[in-house]
Amino acid sequence: MEEMITLTIDSKEVKVPKGTSVLDAAKMIQVEIPTLCYHPDLHPSAACGICIVKINGKMLRSCCTPAEEGMEVITRDPDIIEARRTVLKLTLSKHPNECLTCQKNEMCELQSLAGKFGIRANAFDNITPTPFEMPKDASTKCIVLDPRKCILCGRCVEVCQHIQNVWALSILDRSVKTHIAPAGDSRLADSPCIKCGQCTAHCPTGALVEYDDSERVWSMLQEKDNYCVVQIAPAVRVSMGEAFGYEPGTVTTGKIYAALRKMGFKAIFDTNFGADVTIMEEGSEFVERFVNGNGVLPMITSCCPAWVDFMEKFYPDMIPHFSTCKSPHAIVGALTKTYYAEKIGVEPSKIKVISIMPCTAKKFEILRSKEMFASGFQDVDVSLTTREICRMIKQAGIDFVNLQEERADSPLGEYTGAATVFGFTGGVMEAALRTVHYLVTGQEMNKEDLEVKPILGVEKGIKEMTLNLAGKEVRICVAHGTGNVETVMKRLQEAKEKGEEPPYHFIEVMACNGGCIGGGGQPLGVTDEIRKARMAGLMSDDEFSEFRCSHQNPSIKKLYEEFLGKPLSEKSHHLLHTSYQPIPLYKR
């Protein structure tokens, strides 16, 4: 039984479990305290001071003050409002007035607080001029860091260091020179940054945003000779609606297809088709390793580009364990410029493939190695985040809510339920097991065995299970958030040192918490509640699919009959597989 505490907030009594912060206690009785540096995903850092309240007469920050028995809390009186206004004015005194042209316009937490508090003039103009040049860092072409817009709340550092365990960003220098940057003031592209974009998902201002490729896509669409093809990732269909007023998790696939067609794309494909191909290849690769002993175990999934970057930087000795299979959008890119181009008789140089991803690292992935040009051209030309495509749809004046649902184009638009679950943690494993089961036993998995596995769900960072496959035990591990990887790697290392069998045969890792549904390119404001809702949306998409296993997809069967031959064929290897290289943490 949890120990309960009673305190009074604005003359109202409230009972909360011991350890609850005053801020959270207030939320329980619908008392809204403004916050700026606080984020429910992160440890409170008490950096900004906006959430100040009076506790037994003293002014304290509610985000990091635990509730105590008998506390008397006042959350609003003229003194408190004045203190909060002063905090805001001080923050604004060092913040450029560029809201109209800022990428975060209308989505900035600082802007909306300034609006709420009615700040009408810059009260401390020029008292603290910026002491040194702080240029923008767009070196990754995934994430843009503009230190001038940084308010030093520390959220990006917290998520980069403690949730992701990447330690690319830190708070450097002191006093008026304090700023956020990688060690050595290196460019992000020369730092350990894995481009996961979690910093952009947690930054309250325009200091960290996605690299905006939307203008490039508009000009591609304008060029008459271009044959523009688009594909959407699994996790995009359950998050995009949020930008148009839908509840998180609403599946809006049909409306997204319709909107993209209205924007001028000639063919609407689905990354889910690529996910089904990934399963055919990766599933077969696992069977090769597990049943036939060709290759090392455990095998580790490789469809998350931020995870691939993380592994190449932090665990290069794990390279032989990585599946060589490309990620789904890269597969759709390569097949569009070969298989599809042949089918419709269009010169592949005229085809432009744009992928809509929940992810900033995908922008990096499309250029990461020579294998990303397997078709003879750049397989995916531009990768846009969910946030960018939402803005583009609004720019185009498309009435998203009232769109008639449409279907994707054939053949790279057909997908199974196994593909759609790629969008959340455990989903790739789930999808792979459905097909691996069939490949090993020759029988389909029982319906009641689908999706009840303990590897699904966003609550636990590391999930394990054992599956019986034709009398052989398959030990499985699923981790999400690169901060959880170290534990898994240690377990592997320990077993190796003791000369024991590896603790797992098959490991799935997604760099972001929750998997792609919580990706760094998704609509802002994500919390665990929203991650769960998005996951539920994808699970219902799976449940109502006609086919629920990748190998059952008729278009996939046709692809292998007509074009690839069989999984892991020479053609598959050329078009659908890749390789990995160690990358130093810092380039100087």
């Binding site: 260091q161 830190s170 450097l172 060690a183 350990p192 943490l585």
Partner: protein, 167 residues
Amino acid sequence: MAENESQEKIKEDTQKLLTKWKNKRGALIMALHDIQGLFGYVPWEAMEVTAKEMGVPMARIYAVLTFYNYFKLKAPGKVIISVCDGTACHIKGAQGLLDAFYNCLGLKDGQTTEDGLFHLQVVRCLGCCGLAPVIVVNGKTYGKNTPADVQKIIAEWREKMAETQGV
């Protein structure tokens, strides 16, 4: 080649020095002090070795180094020029001397020339106000300077360093 060799030497020396600190919790700042004591500054290669040996991310090491004013991140230069800007020297024209150093060497307070030869620092009173404005170069004191003297001082030290160290 020479640069690679000196980088390797820095790595080796740092590794040796860290044997004393690497299994101690909370010893990062002490270790960094030792490194600066050895090299006169904290070289990037030494930070990388420290990160590895002590299991501390570079991001934290660099944050510590830039937080504390004491730590230097660049080699301080072979010829250290201290220009006094204490009250007396300030009144007697220290700013003119600093301008002259900037014009001749392109140096501002705390900077080192790219060849690593000259380092300029502004100091407060050196206790010989009768000689204001004062410049001290590697322990040698120059008094009652004018901007024209700055050029002479630079030429003198260039010559001296060329003779003794071949630079």
